[in-house]
């Protein structure tokens, strides 16, 4: 069986700076994969290329066998990839419910259905009580939840999460982990997550890909990866695991 997401030789240069270099990995259907690495390793840049924020300098991205390299972000969303932004981008002037409804309109033709779907997602993420507040009034952890809610609203096959647990308290992290677990087990949602919070990574990921200076330095199951000397050297050692 081919993987849901296949990334091959993905590369990006920003005016000479090689931010991502020849990165290849798979995200099998129904799995949770983590992309980790130190600051500036090129994780977000990988996401941006997968999600169509900008085209790669080189390499290909396939979703369910279909080549989606270089498509626009909206086309990629419609193809089934939902993404969050590390630097959150709420629709500040809209209410929390409206924010998520915009996402849900990707999956539902009718506005009433989209609003219902949004309500469901908001309940799942514990934002329901704040549904009528403008997004601008949310705290950062809530904005991160809103990012997740909006992306989930689009009804993705694959969810890309960029540091959505950053800034959450440990109990909040555990709640969020439980939500992703549940989504993954119940709906078969496939997840690729970038995360510095190792507690969340270890609780969720079946596979880990480690980036450093834009290159893949390790890949495999969590137990092996966290013992990998190269990984300990450049990343996890510093995190004082």
């Amino acid at each position: 069986m081919t993987a849901l997401l296949e990334v091959r030789g993905l590369s990006k240069s920003f005016r000479g700076l090689r931010a991502v270099s020849q990165v290849s990995f798979d995200v099998p259907q129904g799995e949770i994969v983590a992309l980790i690495g130190p600051n500036g390793a090129g994780k977000t840049t990988c996401f941006n290329m997968i999600a169509g924020a900008f085209p790669p300098s080189d390499g290909t991205v396939r979703l369910g066998g279909r080549d989606i390299t270089g498509l626009r972000a909206d086309q990629i969303c419609r193809a089934g990839i939902g993404r969050t932004f590390q630097i959150v981008k709420p629709f500040a002037g809209l209410t929390v419910h409206e924010n998520v409804t915009v996402g849900a309109l990707n999956a539902f033709a009718d506005l009433a259905d989209a609003r219902a779907k949004a309500a469901e997602v908001l309940q799942l993420l514990g934002l329901w009580a704040k549904r009528d507040q403008p997004a601008s009034s949310l705290t950062l952890p809530d904005r991160k939840r809103l990012e997740v809610a909006r992306a989930l609203g689009t009804g993705p096959q694959l969810l890309l999460l960029d540091e959505v647990m950053a800034g959450l308290r440990p109990t909040e992290t555990d709640q969020m982990v439980a939500v992703f677990r549940q989504l993954n087990e119940k709906t078969g949602l496939t997840i690729l997550l970038i995360e510095h919070v190792m507690r969340a990574v270890m609780a969720l990921a079946r596979r880990i890909v480690v980036l450093h200076h834009g290159e893949t330095i390790a890949m495999g199951d969590p137990e092996t990866v966290v013992r990998d000397p190269a990984v300990l050297d450049v990343y996890l050692g510093a995190e004082a695991l």
Partner: protein, 335 residues
């Protein structure tokens, strides 16, 4: 149909519906208690309410700042007037040509801007440039009168909606109908996918795109809807004033006047453009009248007044008059 009606009223409190009904009734009856002068002021107020609503679609809903909406007013005014004067085609038919021409201009500007990612201040400059180029074009377009102007025959006759010839009261009700329809149309838009998508684009284009929105397409739609709506203000203008001068109709001052209502009333709101247009037009006239009455006939006092209103709103009521007023009156929606 009934579903659409239900959606129009969704989330609106009964109090707000009653208030809206009262405002509409007052506007319906206003001519009965107005003299000719007051009626002319109300007609101008409705004209700005309508045009402001049209502009609001582009800026208030979709976040695209146009400072050249006089372009759409102008080309539509000329189109309808030319059809009528040159070819005897009445405005009920000519208006479709006017709508088409204005939308075509909107589509060209939108295409150039959005295809080449011109946005913000540069987009606003592009809209000004187009209005200016078109003004220059019409200045030299001698077949349509050039800079000397283009005129419709002034006729004193009973109201005829087909040819839009008639007394001021006819123009009042035409403008009132347009304003009411535009209000309902915009309400419908905001209660639909299109409205949600426009708001999303206004708030954050990149996030909007990541949620599956074809940003280019929806921005094009905003420009085309807005220019098409604005064109009817142009048709009205031609037949109400009976004279068109490129110098005036395409001027930037006209574009600015047109956007003051929605800014002062409340950008992106439905009632703001109407409220803003009335507040500005009526108050500015009152101020002028009072000054004239007390012996100060100062040219340009209206513009100064507009400027003051704008300053007051920008500093103290950045959301415009309507959102806080709505809260004060207890007209906020239920959810």
């Amino acid at each position: 149909m009934s579903r659409m009606l239900r959606r129009l009223g969704e989330g609106v409190s009964n109090r707000a519906l009653v208030a809206l009904g009262l405002v509409f009734a007052a506007l319906l009856l206003a001519p009965l208690v107005s003299n000719g002068y007051v009626l002319s002021v109300l007609i101008i107020a409705l004209y700005y309410a309508y045009a402001g609503q049209a502009w609001n679609v582009m800026m208030g809903f979709c976040g695209q700042l146009s400072l050249g909406h006089s372009l759409y007013v102008g080309v539509a005014a000329y189109a309808a007037a030319i059809f009528f004067v040159k070819w005897n085609v009445p405005p009920v038919i000519g208006m479709f040509a006017a709508i088409a021409v204005a939308m075509a201009f909107g589509a060209v500007i939108g295409f150039l801007a959005f295809r080449f990612s011109v946005s913000g201040v540069y987009f606003a400059l592009l809209t000004i440039a187009f209005a200016e180029f078109t003004r220059i074009g019409f200045d030299h377009f001698t077949w349509a009168g050039g800079s000397g102007g283009f005129f419709l025959k002034v006729e004193d006759r009973a109201a005829d909606l087909i040819t839009l010839r008639g007394p001021p009261i006819m123009f009042y009700y035409v403008m009132l109908a347009l304003t009411a329809l535009a209000f309902l149309f915009c309400r419908m838009l905001t209660q639909s996918r299109v409205g949600y998508y426009w708001f999303a684009i206004r708030e954050d284009q990149e996030a909007a795109q990541a949620l599956g929105i074809n940003v280019f397409r929806y921005k094009m739609l905003a420009v085309i809807v807005s220019s098409g709506m604005t064109s009817l203000a142009g048709v009205f203008f031609a037949f109400y004033y009976n004279n068109l001068f490129p110098e005036q109709i395409f001027s930037m001052a006209r574009s600015i006047e047109l956007i003051l209502g929605p800014i002062i009333g409340g950008l992106g709101t439905l009632f703001g453009p109407i409220l803003g247009a009335f507040v500005l037009t009526v108050l500015a006239d009152l101020v002028t009248e009072v000054l004239v009455f007390t012996g100060y006939d100062i040219p340009g006092v209206k513009q100064v007044f507009y400027g003051l209103c704008l300053a007051v709103v920008v500093i103290w009521l950045p959301l415009g008059i309507w959102p806080p007023l709505k809260r004060r009156l207890g007209l906020e929606g239920r959810s």
